[in-house]
Structure formats: structure tokens, C-alpha cells
Symmetry: C3
Subunit: 290 residues, 3 copies
């Protein structure tokens, strides 16, 4: 699909979410869990968090999609993640995986690889540093050594006009190799299903001055894949939603000389108010030729 | 008591909380724990969260009330809940129990029944789906099969003019059978001590578009029972407090074309500013004849 | 250094933080973890939270400083704290310790003493009740019996003009005895490196009406000691930063008849907007003669 065909389908994709109010099960980190829940509620999904491994597995039976985020991964959390992923495989439930901090520790890198190797994932969403770490594990040429700064993107991995082609190729090859939709988010987002590559130039640097904007993005895409069959379209719509909400929130904050606290509150407001017209009017979605 | 007698006592009930600044111990879920703490601080209580089972038990000695919320229940959390409930029994401390997601998993349903059977609870606060699950466990006729949608009320359980009598009877019978004050919260709240039944028609649908409004309600009632001897009166005052704060916040949000992020912030503001005059002026408390 | 010499160095201290964007590793409580992360991001640091003990230790290798906060301490959390503190010792990384609720339980008091006895701490930040509990453990004369109210300062321990000399002596003697910078925060803050004693009279009582202002203070000092060699100067700059942000936020809230929810949001905004000019203009830093 070219980007204008995708844009034509955005209104229905958003409508599907709002009508279905998908039960989006999140196994996520305790730093931003409240933001993820409020982001999902704002856009029209129904978040559900649980912590007991047996219960997590059982809830897969009633969920519409599963969000796995390793932002504060512990060994005891892994058990429930694997059990839930196994059940999601059995029941063909869509899954989005956020490899927060892959590369920052062996635990996170190894768990990420285990999850991707052993379970059916629909979408992987990370920053470019995390995506490169995973790409390297799958023998994709990343052209320079990966670097990691905790859970934030390394400065040299920030997606820019200069490196967009290289990074686009990496995202595409990873998507192709493991047969998922891959999204590297940043100042420019790159999304690929292994066949086509797309960029999104919405969003605002203020998003990196609050915790949770990445986790909310992953959660919201979780809501879209829980209410739409087309995983690529769902991923792009989710990415546009939070990118545009971020843009609108940043404009408000700058016009009113506010700061990152108000930005966070306003971001949820804009997700709550978002509609198809705003999405279509503001979307900066393009095909990227590799 | 009829509803006007209760309203006469509201100012003193609120005053007692503000003067005592009750130490409200919360064993609660990690999704909304920050909201619960800020809600309690806003209204004038002193929240205390702890995680170690031995410590949780010890803190019962200095608390004014205990809040038990199973929103992200794990097996390891149960130990501290039981130890604290046991100590609260020994020391005659008031306890409010929030059976979040009862019916959504065996773990939650079974733990809820264990808690109610084995310990002295002062108040149970849930949505109507959760209350019906518990009522069924105690052989109360719920007239239709219970349904569960994760941690949110099932659409057919939303309290309305059409089902208010049936739901009122269920709440009353459960309160009578297990000898506690029971509150089913929703668009209309139902509260009963097993003798009388009351409805509250404050609040706003926006409350279900943020996470934590139910947990905050439970927490705040915890503050009121920690500073007032009359449990029914404390429960009703807590319910009115957050209902009216929700209403005021929703009015502000609608007048200013804001969204659910600002609603959450403003809800805490309104709890902070709440006084007896506003409570009495806005309270929509009525007796319900079954 | 006298207070005016310190003030002269404040601009460079803040600049160092903003230029370095220090990786501030936080092992903290789950109630306020989101506020700590957003406070650090607002001022210009890079927070990193992790939960796995092995990973926590590994991350010390890449961090710029370590924040230890026992606000919801569990026995399983202690393992990772000790491992990380051990590694921080080996690698000479600066550490700030927040003994939340020391005195409220044996677990917290004993763990606090273990941490101070066995590891190199750069800064201890607590309320006056917590500081007195620790002082007593080190045989410092605290003149009256310590009292504890959960995690909040006991009313008789609130720092005031009447008790400032006694409390100043306690802070100084503790700092001298265990060779760290000690900060007791409150309406008046007291800070000492064991040689000199300083008071800060910024801040606002509204800070005690939200959860997390103490934890944010500790976290932000963590950011400053991760980007500055002079620990005393870093501690004072951190304390002034949140005190002045709190003051500015409180002014806004009072001028606009808002409440504690907006105060919390605005506090992050003011941290985000804070610059050297505002710090110097508003700082109420004084030497205290004991």
C-alpha cells in the first residue's frame, strides 16, 4: 500500500477501536503503568493490568490483544510473560512487544530474543538503539556498532535525514526476517512490514522529556491491533495518534509557556479529543524507498 | 436514618477527617497507587503504603484504618493482606475491601471470599459486576447470570433506573448477610448497611475514562472510616466527596474543551478544595425503598 | 564556604547537570516512581529504573549516580540495593540514600543502618523524624524521644525557629560522624557536611499535600551529584531547585484557586523551566551558627 491508500483507511481504523473498546491486556513496567492505562482509556480502549502469572495467562482468553513491555523486567515477571504469550499463540491473539532497554542488560537482550524466537509477535516497537540490538542478533548488517544509553536512544542512533536510509533498511530487514511489523520510533518514526517502509514525521521533542511516551505508544498500538485485523494499518494509526497528540500538546505548552508536567496532562487530553479529521489533516506519513 | 438526617451529619463527618488527618494504610495495586495517595492527601488524610508482609502487619498498630485493594493481586501479596487483616481484627481497626476484578479470575474471586469469610470487614466497595459475583457466592438471587469484562463493570450491570430495585435488593441482602456496609458504585451508587438502602446520583461518566477513580473512592472512604465511628455515614460522605469532586471537575473540563488528562488533575484539585457547603449543596442522596 | 560563595557557584552547578544529562539510576518505591522519573527528566537528567538485582548491579557500571529510596521496601528489594551499593563502592559512584519511614518499622530502621554502616554514601536526605532516628542509632543526643508518624514527619519534629539550633546540631553531628552530607528537609531545610550548617527557607506547605515531593527532591539531588564533584554544592542546588519550583508552583495555584492536583503538575513545569537567574533571585540560603 502506498501512504495515501493507508490514509484513506485511517478513519475506519480509529472507528473500529472506538466501537470495540478493546480489552488490552498489559504486562508492563511499574514506572509508566498509570500513563499507559490512562492513554488507552483516553483513546477509547479498555486496559487491564494483572500481575499473577496464572491470572495473566487466563486473561488472554478474554483479551483482545496483549502488550508485553520489559521496562522493569524481573525474572519472576518472565514466567507470566511466557505463559501469556503461549496462550496468545494458541488463541491467535495479536501481540505487541516493546523491548525497553534491550542492549542495556543481558537479561533484557536475552529475554527479548527468547520472546521473538519462541512466540508469534504481531508488532515490535522500540527506539532505534533497541531495534539495532535486535537486528544484530538476527545477523542484519547494522553498519556501526550498537550503542546503548540506558533506556533512552543513544545520540548517534537518533533517526535523522542523514541516516534514514540505513535505518529504514535495518527496520525492513528485521521485519522481513522475523515476519512482524517493526516500528522504530523517534523524531522520525520508521515502520515496516518487511515489504514496504513508511516514515512518520509527527511528534515533538517534548515527548522525550516525560517518561512513558514510548510505553503509551506501545500500549495504544496494542489497542489498535486489538480492534483491527490489518496489523500494519493499526500500527501506523497508533503511531500517528500519539505523534499528533504530542504535536498538539507541545503547541499548547509552548503557546502558554508551560512545561513538561502540563505536557503530560495535555497529551492525554489530546488523545481523548483525537478524531479522524485531525488525524488526516496533520498526518505526515510517507513511503520510504530503500 | 433517612437521607436528610444523614445530610445533617455530613459537615461533622468531613470535619472529623480533616482534624484527625487519619493514617490510612493502603495495600493496593501498583497501577493507581499514586492517585490513591494523592486523593487521600488532597482531602486531608495521611496515606501510608508498604509492601513487606511483616511491616504491613506492624503498621496496623499505628494506622487508623486499613484499605485492601486487589487490583493487581499476586500470591505473594496475599500473605501480607491476611496478616494485616488478622491484626486489624485483633485491634478493632476499620477495614475497607475493594474486590477489584472479582469474577475475572479464580485468584481474585477466591481471595475475595476468603477475606470476607475470615476477617471483620467494615465496608465492601465494588462495581455492580463485582458485587453480584460476591452476592452469588453467598447464595443471593442475582436474577441473571453475572458477567465480567476485566476490571470494568459489564455493560448489562450498569446501574440504571430500570434495574435499580433489583440491584438495590442485591446490595442490601449482601450487606445483611455478611454484616458490612456494601457500596456498589456506578452512574448511580447504591449503599446499604443491610437495613436501609441509599442511592447517590452524583458523579460523571468521565470518571470511567481515567484509571483510579474507583480505587480513589475506596481509599477516601478508608480515610473517612479511619476518622469516624459511624461506618455508614463515613461511607456515604466518602462517596459524595468523590462524586461531587468528579462532577465539578467534569464541568470544568467541558467548559474548557479539555480531556481526561486534565480531568484527572482537576479531580484531585476539587477534592482538595471540597468543603461542607459544597457537599450539602450538591449532594443527591436518596433513600431507596426495596 | 559561606552561603554567598555557594550561591556564586550555583549557575555552574546547574549548567553541569544540563550539559551532562546524567544517567541517574533509581532503586525507589512504586508509589512515586513516576514523579521521580518526570522530575529528573524535567530538570535535565536521565532517570533509569530497574528491578532485577543482577541488572541493578550491572547498571551501576554505566550510571552517573545511584539513588536508594526505601519507601516501599521489601526483603527481596534489599538484595539488589546491597549489590548495587557494593558496586557503587567499587566504582566510586556517588550515592544518595533516602531512609523513608526509618523508625516506622524495624525493617526500615535496620536496613537504613546496614546501608550507612556498610557502604559509602554521599548524601542522606530525610525528614527531621527520620534523621533523628538515625542520629539516635549513632549515639547523638537528640534531646527528646524520637516520634514517628508513618512516613510523614512527626508534628513535634517539624523544623521551626524554636528548634532550629537543636536540629542543626543533630544534622551536623550525624554528618560528621558518618562523613556524609546530611539534609533534613521541611518548612526549613537543614544541610550539613559535618563542618558547616546551612538552612534553606524556600518551598511551600503545599509540597506536603502531594505524595512524592520528598522522593523527587532525593532523585533530583541524585541528578546533581551525578554531574558535579562537589557533593555539598550539588545537594544545596538540588534542594534550592525543588524548593523554588515548589514556591513558584504554589503561587500559581493560589493565584488561580486551584488545588493539589494542579500543584503537582505545575511543580514539574517549574522544574522544567528553572534557570540560574530564578535560582539566584529566589534562593533563601543562609549559614546557621550552632
Amino acid at each position: 500500500m502506498n501512504s495515501s491508500e493507508i490514509l484513506n483507511k485511517i478513519p475506519q481504523t480509529l472507528k473500529n477501536l472506538k466501537e470495540k473498546n478493546p480489552l488490552t491486556q498489559c504486562i508492563t513496567n511499574y514506572v509508566t503503568v498509570n500513563d499507559v492505562a490512562n492513554g488507552l482509556l483516553a483513546i477509547g480502549a479498555s486496559p487491564l493490568m494483572s500481575e499473577d502469572p496464572q491470572e495473566q495467562k487466563d486473561i488472554v482468553n478474554i483479551n483482545d490483544s496483549l502488550v508485553i513491555n520489559i521496562g522493569t523486567l524481573t525474572k519472576s515477571q518472565i514466567e507470566g510473560m511466557y505463559a501469556s504469550l503461549d496462550e496468545a499463540d494458541n488463541l491467535y491473539k495479536p501481540v505487541i512487544f516493546d523491548p525497553v532497554g534491550a542492549g542495556a542488560s543481558e537479561l533484557r537482550t536475552n529475554t527479548s530474543v527468547e520472546i521473538i524466537n519462541n512466540y508469534s509477535i504481531s508488532v515490535i516497537r522500540g527506539n532505534m538503539s533497541e531495534i539495532k540490538i535486535l537486528a544484530k542478533e538476527y545477523n542484519i548488517d547494522i553498519e556501526n556498532e550498537e550503542t546503548v544509553k540506558g533506556v533512552d536512544v543513544a545520540p548517534e542512533d537518533i533517526i535523522s535525514k542523514e541516516n534514514i536510509k540505513v535505518n529504514g533498511r535495518i527496520v525492513k530487514e528485521l521485519a522481513e526476517k522475523i515476519n512482524v511489523v517493526v516500528m522504530a520510533s523517534g523524531h522520525i518514526d520508521i515502520i515496516s512490514d518487511g515489504k514496504n517502509v513508511y516514515t512518520i514525521k509527527n511528534g515533538d521533542p517534548l515527548m522525550s522529556r516525560i517518561t512513558g511516551s514510548g510505553c503509551m505508544l506501545t500500549g495504544i498500538i496494542g489497542g489498535f491491533i486489538g480492534s483491527n485485523d490489518d496489523i500494519l494499518l493499526a500500527t501506523i494509526t497508533g503511531a500517528l495518534s500519539i505523534g499528533i497528540a504530542g504535536e498538539l500538546s507541545a503547541e499548547y505548552i509552548k503557546n502558554n509557556a508551560l512545561g513538561s508536567g502540563s505536557f503530560r496532562t495535555r497529551l492525554i487530553d489530546e488523545l481523548y479529543k483525537l478524531n479522524s479529521e485531525t488525524l488526516l489533516k496533520r498526518a505526515k506519513l510517507e513511503n520510504l524507498e530503500i
